[in-house]
C-alpha cells in the first residue's frame, strides 16, 4: 500500500530534474499524477516512466503564467482524476546571471511571472477544487536562495522569498479548509539546471560541495523524499513551514 494511495497530484515542471523525481515518487506511492510542463518531450517522458512502473499518470502542457491555461489545467486534472489533493509548484524560469543594474526589466518581469504569479495562479484555481473535496496540500519549491543571497541572482532570489510568503499566506488563509501549504528550500541539487551557469558538473561540485557541509550535491530524490513526506498525512500538523533540504548549506 503506497503512502499516497487514492490521491490525485498535480506537479508543475514535471519534465525537470527535481519535479520529475517528485512526480515519479508520487506515482510509485500510489498517487495519480498530472505531469505539467511547457516542454512536451520531457513531460511525456516523466508520465511514461510513471506508467511503465505501474502507476497512473496524465500529462499536460501549460504555461503557468497564463491564467486561461492554468484554469484549463485544473479542469483537465479534475476531469482525469476527479479531484486535486496535492499540488507541487515547481515551475521556475532560469534567467541569465545579472545584477540589479544589468538585468533588463523584461527578464525580471518574466522571472516574476513564472515563479510567483504562476504559483499564485495554480493556487488560485486549485484551492476551490480542494475545498470541494474536503482539503488538500501544496508543496511549493522555494530555494536556499530565498533565505540567503548569492551573487548575480536578484530576480530568482526575490521570487523564492516571495514563494515562502505565498506559502504562509495560503497556509494561514485556508487552514480552516483543511488545506496545508509548505515550502521546500533545496540546496544545490544535481540537475541540468546547474549547468546553465557552470560548464561541467565536476566544476559545479568543486565550487558547491565545500559549501554543503554534508559533502555532496543534493540529488533530486532527496527533494522527492521531502515532498513525499509533506504530501502524505505523516506531516498532517505541518503547515506554513519552510523545509530546508540543503545538506547544511544555510547553517554555515
Amino acid at each position: 500500500m503506497g503512502r499516497l494511495e487514492g490521491k490525485s497530484a498535480l506537479v508543475t515542471a514535471a519534465g525537470g530534474g527535481i519535479a520529475g523525481a517528485i512526480a515519479r515518487r508520487f506515482g510509485a506511492e500510489g498517487a495519480s499524477v498530472m505531469c505539467v510542463d511547457i516542454v512536451e518531450e520531457s513531460v511525456t517522458k516523466t508520465a511514461g516512466d510513471i506508467e511503465s512502473a505501474g502507476g497512473r499518470a496524465a500529462w499536460s502542457l501549460c504555461d503557468v503564467s497564463k491564467e486561461d491555461q492554468v484554469r484549463e489545467l485544473i479542469g483537465k486534472t479534475v476531469g482525469a482524476f476527479g479531484k486535486v489533493d496535492i499540488v507541487v509548484n515547481a515551475a521556475a524560469a532560469s534567467e541569465p546571471t545579472h545584477t540589479v543594474v544589468t538585468m533588463p526589466l523584461e527578464v525580471w518581469q518574466e522571472v516574476l511571472d513564472v515563479n510567483i504569479t504562476g504559483m499564485f495562479l495554480v493556487c488560485k484555481y486549485a484551492i476551490p477544487e480542494m475545498q470541494k473535496s474536503g482539503g488538500g496540500c501544496f508543496i511549493n519549491i522555494s530555494s536556499t536562495f530565498g533565505s540567503i543571497a548569492w551573487p548575480g541572482r536578484p530576480a530568482y532570489m526575490a521570487t523564492k522569498a516571495a514563494v515562502k510568503q505565498i506559502t504562509r499566506s495560503v497556509a494561514l488563509d485556508f487552514a480552516g479548509d483543511n488545506i496545508r501549504a509548505n515550502a521546500i528550500s533545496p540546496g544545490a541539487i544535481e540537475t541540468n539546471r546547474l549547468l546553465a551557469r557552470t560548464p561541467t558538473m565536476d566544476a559545479v561540485r568543486e565550487k558547491m560541495v565545500p559549501l554543503h557541509p554534508i559533502g555532496r550535491l543534493g540529488q533530486p530524490d532527496d527533494i522527492a523524499n521531502a515532498a513525499l513526506f509533506l504530501a502524505s498525512d505523516e506531516s498532517s500538523f505541518m503547515t506554513g513551514a519552510d523545509m530546508f533540504v540543503d545538506g547544511g548549506f544555510t547553517m554555515i
Binding site: 525580471w108 526575490a158 505565498i166 499566506s169
Partner: protein
C-alpha cells in the same frame, strides 16, 4: 552637524506617512532630498515642509513602475542635487483584502508591480549613480508580513518577502562597491491609510492583540529614525540585514 551631511537621498512614496517622515528627518540631518511620489500634492507638501525648515528638497511625480519615469527622476535628482548617495524605497500599493482563490489576477499583478518591481526599477537606475558617488546606502521597506503571514494579503506578503531577498541580493552584489543595502520590517504603523479599513486606531491595536507588546501602534518617526541609522555611517558594518521595528511582533 547632521548624520547625513553632504548626502543626497532619493525617497519614494515621500508624500506618504512613513517616507514623508523619513524625508523630513533625512533633510534635518543634512541630506538634500529628492521626494518622489505618484501623488503630486502630497509630495509637494513634503518638499515644501523641508524647505520651510531650512532644508534642501525637490518634489517630483514618479510612478516607480514606469521605467522611463524613474530614469528621468534619478537623472533630475543628480542634476539638481548632486551625486546620489542614499535611497529610501517605500512605495507600496494598498491592495484590498482577498484570499488567494478570490484575488483578481490584476490586483495581484498591481501589488507585485508596485511593491517589488518598482523597487527593482528604482535600484536599477539609482545604483549606477551611487557607484559614481563612490558608494552609499539603500534602505528598503519590507514589512513584518515579509516574514510572517497576514490573513488575506497574499500579494502583499509575497511582495514584501521578495523585498527582503532583493535587498540581500543587492547587498551581496555591491558590497565590494561600498554600497550597503538593508531592509526595515515595520510592524503596524499608525497612519491615515489605516482608517480607510478600520473604524479607529484603537480597533487596530485591539485586532493585533497580544502580539503588539507595547499596546500601541508604531509611529512613522520611529521608522524614520531607523532608516536614518541605516542610511548613515553609524551602521557601516550592517549589510543585507532585516531590521524588525515592530515592538516584538515577530519575536512572539
Amino acid at each position: 552637524m547632521g548624520l547625513l551631511d553632504g548626502k543626497v537621498a532619493f525617497v519614494t512614496a515621500a508624500g506618504g506617512n512613513i517616507a514623508g517622515a523619513t524625508a523630513r528627518l533625512f533633510a534635518e540631518e543634512g541630506a538634500a532630498v529628492a521626494c518622489a511620489d505618484v501623488a503630486e500634492e502630497d509630495v509637494r507638501k513634503t518638499a515644501a515642509d523641508i524647505e520651510a525648515a531650512g532644508g534642501r528638497a525637490i518634489a517630483m511625480v514618479c510612478d516607480v513602475t514606469d521605467e522611463d519615469a524613474v530614469k528621468e527622476c534619478i537623472a533630475r535628482t543628480v542634476a539638481e542635487l548632486g551625486p546620489l548617495t542614499t535611497l529610501f524605497n517605500a512605495a507600496a500599493h494598498s491592495e484590498q483584502r482577498f484570499k488567494v482563490a478570490d484575488m483578481p489576477v490584476d490586483m495581484w499583478r498591481r501589488t507585485i508591480d508596485v511593491d517589488l518591481t518598482g523597487m527593482f526599477i528604482v535600484c536599477k537606475y539609482a545604483i549606477p549613480e551611487i557607484l559614481k558617488a563612490g558608494g552609499g546606502s539603500i534602505v528598503n521597506i519590507s514589512s513584518t508580513y515579509g516574514k510572517i503571514a497576514a490573513a488575506e494579503r497574499p500579494a502583499y506578503c509575497s511582495a514584501k518577502g521578495g523585498v527582503r531577498m532583493l535587498t540581500k541580493s543587492i547587498a551581496v552584489d555591491y558590497a565590494a562597491d561600498n554600497i550597503r543595502c538593508n531592509s526595515i520590517l515595520p510592524g503596524p504603523i499608525e497612519g491615515p491609510r489605516m482608517l480607510q479599513r478600520n473604524p479607529s486606531i484603537e480597533a487596530v491595536v485591539a485586532r493585533h492583540g497580544q502580539r503588539l507588546h507595547f499596546k500601541r501602534l508604531g509611529q512613522s518617526i520611529e521608522i524614520a529614525r531607523t532608516a536614518l541609522f541605516l542610511a548613515s555611517d553609524e551602521s557601516s558594518y550592517t549589510n543585507g540585514a532585516d531590521m524588525a521595528v515592530d515592538a516584538g511582533y515577530t519575536a512572539f
